[in-house]
Amino acid sequence: MLVKRCFASERRLPAKESEACGLFGVMDITGKRFGGEMAISAMKNIKVRGNGLGGGFAVYGLYPEYRDYYALHIMFQNKMAKEQVESYLVENFNIVYDEEIPTNPDVNLFCPPLVWRYFVAPKKKGEEQALSDDDFVVSRVMYINTSIEDACVFSSGKDMGVFKGVGFPEEIAAYFRLAELYAGYLWTAHSRFPTNTPGWWGGAHPFSILDWTVVHNGEISSYGTNRRFLEMHNYYCTLFTDTEVMAYAVDLLMRRQGLPIEVVSRIFAPPLWDLIEHMEEREKKLYSTLRMVYAPLLINGPFTVIVAHQNEMFGLTDRIRLRPITAGAKGDLVFLSSEEAAIRCVCPDLDLAWTPRGGEPVVVRQGSRDHLLSLPESV
Amino acid sequence: MSRFTYLIIGNSAGAVGCIEALREVDGTGTIALISDETRHVYSRALIPYYLEGKIERAGMDYRPPDFYTRHGVTPFLGKEAVGVDFDRKEVELAGGERIGYGKLLLATGGRPFLPPLPGLDRQNVFTFLSLDDVLAIEKALPGVKNAVVLGGGVIGLMAAEVLSKKGLDVCVLELAGRVLAPVVDETASALVEDLFRKNGVKIYTETTIKEIRGAESVEEVRLTDGRTIPAGLLIIAVGVVPRVELVKGTGIRVNRGIVVDQRMQTSVPDVYACGDCAEVYDFAAGHHKLLPLWPNAYAGGRIAGFNMAGRPRKYEWGTGMNATHFFDFYIINAGVNVTGDNADGYEIVSKLAEDRRSYRKFALKAGRIQGFVLAGEVARAGIFLHLMRKAVDVRAFQQELTKSNFGFSDLPDQLRWALLKDDVVLGVV
């Protein structure tokens, strides 16, 4: 476990970051790609939910020409780190293409690192053949992030990418020239309000693992319990953020264990025992069992999370809705955001705007209207 | 002939009240005082105490021996005023001497009423009003075993108590159906009668003396009911009448007493009257009447004094009021005395606590206390007089009045603080 590997004692673990944020996500359920203007304007609208110490975007459908390759976005604090990482990459991957991620030097950001992207395919050897590609990539990303100084892989999925850094989201967007250069069918965005860490580039959000990205708002009171449970399943939490824990939990339950979001949301935000009491026998049994088995993954405390991966995005709040979320729909576009105003300012004539009940996921899937399933429990 | 700024006829409470008030205002005007008694000013109210031996002769003095000199008063003692010339502003003394005045106060007081009884001229028949009376009684006492007191009023009963304590067999005669009838109601009277009886004093009501018998000295009295009672001593205490003969028939208005207005001024300019000789304003009754009581005399004299010195003030202080005690039993009453028939329809709040020998009764009209009697427990009685005088509507707390520890705490907040605050007067007026 990480604790054993890197720290003499749990006492020496860095303090968890606590933070709060503004969130936004938009997806075209037909898979049509569009530019970043909506996400950028929406984040600008809820600027006051962040404090300029972190902003970022995740875009899906980003690299159609490299859709079969893992796209690694890596930031380096110095050349030496880059050399180290590259020699490690060469050892473990076939790099089909790499380039510096274009930035706009006119945007004045604080200490931007060198940011590079690599499109790679795993180069598995020996026993590793048994590993899935995904697991192989995860292990290599974990290695870089825990073992190579001054480097950070902040995006490692296919046909998607994360852009983030220290600044307000619109500054990050301008720096990475998102509006000019990119299109995608799903955009999530995050404006960060860390309470305790000074902003650092790697610590900005979205947080990603493979093509899973998480943007999150709130401070999880169950962090210690969740983290220790995940560590037992060989997730190495290196960033000490709630978002990281959420992302690993999603990865564990959805990717590795194959549970659908509808079940995962009940693990994260289970119904209260009071209410389970009043359920029908079958449901009662389901929810009781989920609570029993997955108790360590109950995400306690206030949170709103927007999780995205290929062709899917969902939003969820904690079970007593201590953090806000609003969903909106207009034609094939589905929006999720911390504030309705952020949606309205990019799409004033919504067909629908609704607020789901706490713990009730809004699931947005390509080619489906599953997001409307959350309507009956909404206001 | 000497002439004084202020001249006072009389030498008792009214005179002293006047002198002290004059000197609060006027430090220079000359003051003279005429009295037919030769004594330094003394308190007639103290004679029962003297007789009982509670105080010495010197203790009878109402003011210290230097009272006249300290106040710059020229006393004409042992001189009887026999006439007043209002036009020339002169008083004529017996013997012809005349004294001029700027302002004149008539404070001649009262004299005991003597009913026309056969045998009044026997020895050991006394009244009970002056020091002379009591000195004479004192002299007579050693040879006497029993005494009759004619009159069951305050003075009569006080005399009876003292005589009883002196070891005499005492009998009180009261023409009315009960003692103290003009002062208190039936219940209080009964308490008092009971008290006297328990202390060995006989009380005969609804009877009076038909004849005083005895050789030289009184020996017995025969009553209207036919009984005969032995009496080595007879005290006649059936009331006081104003001494108004000095001005009777002059231009000054005299009713039963000398009529004064609220400034204590008579119908003649620069002539004032106060005390037992005057009919003064009774704030409780709302009209002028005789209030032959010590505090009223003093306060009346005081108001007269201010007015005489040119500082107008009204007399609104007085009403019938008595603080009396018999044996260990105290009674304080003031204002109207509402008896059993309650002819005037007062609202009555009363309580008799026989175990504590305590009786409290308040007569209200439109929520104002018009009169009260406290018998047995009299502490803080002045508060009620105060409420009366201020015409305070007591309805909000009238049930509390009969509490033996009634106090300001029982009043509504605002009233309480108003009463405690506004009065604390202000030097001289």
Partner: protein, 283 residues
């Protein structure tokens, strides 16, 4: 990786780049007693600066258009003249804390409102032609709020009243959980007009910790949806009068007819005790 840490000062997300009121004049159009403000691109403080400025100029009616999330509308209107009343008509989507600490003005929203409508409101009126987010009327202690549609979580939380002030919240639709939580006073009316026939209200924990005030609830609700501090009673004549009065006002604001609404079944939710937690302690 630690080298990626940076030290970073403080950027004021509210105030950085706020333009002085004088520079904002182009956003305002004054016409006699009324004014119009175009709030597009205005920051929170800028909009409120303008509102205060027009109020101080004696304007009594302001229309604000293109509102997208600006917060605290009405909050800065504690004016030197306490009698001064402003009517603010908003089209768009006002931001959180609409009318927070509102001090006797009237705000009409043509659109949805977000969280914190009428937060700690003291006096005045807020009328929302749409829905409202969480904690509507939180800690409100005076004035009236009318929401045409639904409200989110914790509506009317800790509303209160005291001699001379009784706040009123009327919600046309339904509410989410913890409705009326901690209520200490005031009148809340929940009409359920957005529910289907016989559809129960979905909120759980209604009136938990309630210790004052009253909720009039139209429509169905199960016993277990109520907090244990709540008692249910039928309406008496006085209650009906109250409901009729405020439903009448509600309908007047939104052009509805009261008759049919009043025919629905109402019940009254009352706290069972003024001291819900009086007995949990060992002294």
């Amino acid at each position: 990786m630690n080298n990626l840490n940076v030290r970073f000062g403080l950027r004021d997300m509210f105030l950085d780049g706020v333009r002085p009121a004088a520079a904002l004049i182009k956003y305002v159009n004054i016409n006699g007693q009324s004014a119009e403000i175009d709030a597009l691109d205005l920051k929170h403080k800028e909009l409120n600066d303008l509102l205060r400025a027009v109020a101080l100029q004696g304007i009594s009616k302001v229309t604000v258009k293109n509102v997208f999330g600006q917060r605290y509308i009405g909050t800065r209107l504690y004016l030197p003249d306490p009698e001064k009343r402003l009517e603010i008509r908003i089209s768009g989507n006002p931001g959180n804390d609409l009318g927070a600490f509102l001090n006797g003005h009237r705000i009409i929203v043509f659109g949805n409102a977000q969280d914190g409508v009428g937060n700690t409101m003291d006096d005045g009126e807020i009328i929302v032609h749409g829905r409202a987010g969480d904690i509507a009327a939180m800690s409100m202690r005076g004035g009236k709020i009318f929401i045409r549609d639904n409200v989110g979580y914790r509506a009317a939380i800790h509303m209160k009243e005291y001699p001379g002030k009784v706040p009123v919240l009327v919600i046309g639709g339904t509410a989410q959980d913890f409705f009326g939580e901690y209520m200490a006073g005031g009148i809340v009316i929940l009409l359920g007009l957005t529910l289907k026939e016989n559809e129960p209200h979905k909120a759980h924990y209604i009136g938990t910790g309630m210790h004052g005030g009253v909720i009039y609830l139209r429509g169905r609700v199960e016993e277990y949806q109520l907090g244990k501090e709540v008692g249910v009673r039928p309406l008496d004549d006085r209650d009906r009068a109250v409901v009729e009065r405020y439903v009448g006002e509600f309908c007047a604001h939104f052009g509805l007819s009261a008759g049919k609404i009043l025919q629905g079944e109402f019940r009254k939710l009352l706290p069972v005790s003024k001291r819900p937690y009086g007995k949990i302690y060992a002294y």
